[in-house]
Symmetry: none
Subunit: 224 residues, 4 copies
Amino acid sequence: MSDTKNTPAPAPVPGANKVPKTERGRRTLRALLNAAAEEFGEKGFHDAAISQITARAGVATGSFYVYFDSKEAIFQALVRDLSGQVKDFVAPRIAAAPDQIAAEQAGQLAYLEFVRQHKEIYRIIDESEFVDPAAYREHYTKSATRIASRLQSAMERGEISDGDCEVRAWALMGINVFLGLRYGVWGDEAPEDVVREAGRFITEGLAPRKDSPQKSPARREEKP
Amino acid sequence: MSDTKNTPAPAPVPGANKVPKTERGRRTLRALLNAAAEEFGEKGFHDAAISQITARAGVATGSFYVYFDSKEAIFQALVRDLSGQVKDFVAPRIAAAPDQIAAEQAGQLAYLEFVRQHKEIYRIIDESEFVDPAAYREHYTKSATRIASRLQSAMERGEISDGDCEVRAWALMGINVFLGLRYGVWGDEAPEDVVREAGRFITEGLAPRKDSPQKSPARREEKP
Amino acid sequence: MSDTKNTPAPAPVPGANKVPKTERGRRTLRALLNAAAEEFGEKGFHDAAISQITARAGVATGSFYVYFDSKEAIFQALVRDLSGQVKDFVAPRIAAAPDQIAAEQAGQLAYLEFVRQHKEIYRIIDESEFVDPAAYREHYTKSATRIASRLQSAMERGEISDGDCEVRAWALMGINVFLGLRYGVWGDEAPEDVVREAGRFITEGLAPRKDSPQKSPARREEKP
Amino acid sequence: MSDTKNTPAPAPVPGANKVPKTERGRRTLRALLNAAAEEFGEKGFHDAAISQITARAGVATGSFYVYFDSKEAIFQALVRDLSGQVKDFVAPRIAAAPDQIAAEQAGQLAYLEFVRQHKEIYRIIDESEFVDPAAYREHYTKSATRIASRLQSAMERGEISDGDCEVRAWALMGINVFLGLRYGVWGDEAPEDVVREAGRFITEGLAPRKDSPQKSPARREEKP
DNA sequence: CATGAATGAGAGTTCATTCAT
DNA sequence: TATGAATGAACTCTCATTCAT
């Protein structure tokens, strides 16, 4: 979900194996990517069929291979394409926030809203863990790095507490992804409410307020 | 990762389609499950081949269907088998904690350690999202419900702040899973350090300590 | 066309990717090879279809891949299989000859007769130059080496004139192959007549007999 | 390798389906033929791709069909083009020989040298057996006929011994082709040495010289 | 229980050729 | 002439599952 940001846009559709030279070619390529998003989103990578993608796109089977070398290739192109869409949606809302904590919350809200409107994106990106592990790893690593550098700056400015920014970045990303899964893909609760609750979690954590009375006990059971 | 807990244990290996009656049969069944864990862990569900599983187990292809009805069946059996292992490892350490916040951190640490020792488990359970979506959803939903009820009790006892416990449960689970991915599967940092940093995140959040001097604004960029 | 001679028969069908363990399996494998000989012989490697081979053999498409990894694999197995057949036909007739020159002529005759009865073999082995160049080269190199060593021995015994035995081996092999092409595959002249004429060529060459009168001139044009 | 000799040269490039009218067209046609020689030489007929030929030639795919009707067509054109090159190289050296035996040896030497400098030609012409069997057969038949008629004349002049000239022509051609394969394409021995040894084979055969002492028998093994 | 050969539907992929621009 | 996108028939290969022994 990010990071083609400062590259000079080498191709109109990142990841495509061939850059079309004519307008007609550009239309066909876009039709293939849209069809692939539908097909992969509905069926998942392995049950998706290239013949179905071309059928949805309204082109012949062979046309697929004019633009992509393989099923994996279009999947990868699609992941990058969708990542770009997420970035374009979320980035400006982060940039508009007054401080870092507000920024993280704005990003969370934006991410949640985007996921809800593009549920298939969630599945596609997640499945890349199994289809193209390197891409999956790179995707999350880059996102975490970016979050971490935001936190680092904020920490230096004194906006947030001291601590390991990388660990906190991964934790934050985990929160966003799982809230996205639960409340974006599966549920339909109001994103604002979710973010408000999670926001309190972020800003104050599980710790009781300093002025509230502490009691005692314990409890049990496992984790996820 | 859990919750076949209170079933009356109809078979020594939960999920197997047939309970072996002979000692030889039991050995074959166990060999198949071990082989499947390797094969699925290395190749993922779709690229794993039954013929490879039987080859690793040292039995004939046909023998597979004596114990399992299908490829999906052994995968599910395996997921339950592994979930039980995670639960048996994590649960007692949660139960031993003095209070809820300590419990969550103990669970996090235990989970991280377990993931590191069984990296293939992480992958197999994750892939169930695509192999058996209902099981995947149920797995995380049950885990979240359990965490939420722990938080609810703690909240009522005043151990933690007020707020929506389900949202916080999903957030916590997201933190655990992503730290598990980053520091359990991919990295080799000391789990204690990771949990300590994440613990400060949990207990105090991103908010600066009340006594630290506040400066001003800034921000930018997107989320995951 | 030779040279699995002194190996301890590692497999009933040299080159097959899998050795059948049951009688039924052996029958299927043989049926596939026979079908492949027909199909490749009639259509050549590239126009031959695996589906046609299995159809001729009376088995399902998938059964092909029980025994061979690819179209190239069965082609290679077939070349070895046929080479063995040639060897088994020609070798004893060479061994029965009284001296080396008679042996070479007996071999030539036997080769010619064999080619005539198995015209498809000729085409298949020849095509291996393009399908499996290493096999083709090895095939001819080994044959030439064997001929050369026969000539070497004969030379040391004084049965033939002094000279480079390798060059003469390749020359002899060229004669046999081209006479096989012209009079075995394409023509139907009596092999005995052909060999008698070629035999005079072998034993006395183009040189006029010592007692015949020499004249003068010259001439022109190219070679093959 | 020859014999478009007396046709009225309808086009600068024999075999091309269309004669270019412009200078630009002529350059494109020549670029395509050169590219085809490379591509067919490296990959063989079936693995060669039109798209690769056009890529090598630096023209668009569609341009190919301006000059050739099909893949087979350019292959044939190429074979004729190369045959002409062989002929032009070999013929004058045969014509310059003082007698028939010297002529055959001169031809052999010239052929060997040419093959060595144009290894891809050997392969391309050989493959025509499978791409265009009629052309292949005609090619060798014509060559043999020409050699036979030379021998016939020489025989009538008493330069060579009596015998069937056609059989001897095919034998000679076989020698040349196989020595070309072994010492032209695969090896790098001095052509003169090869021809000298083969020459002794031609002029005197395998027979021991009349004045050398005869010993006795022995033999074994098969032919090619 | 175990074996391993057989099955066959279905997938991805190739590429010579056509044609609108 | 030149271009390059579009075509689609045809092919090789995979593998979960069945079944006779």
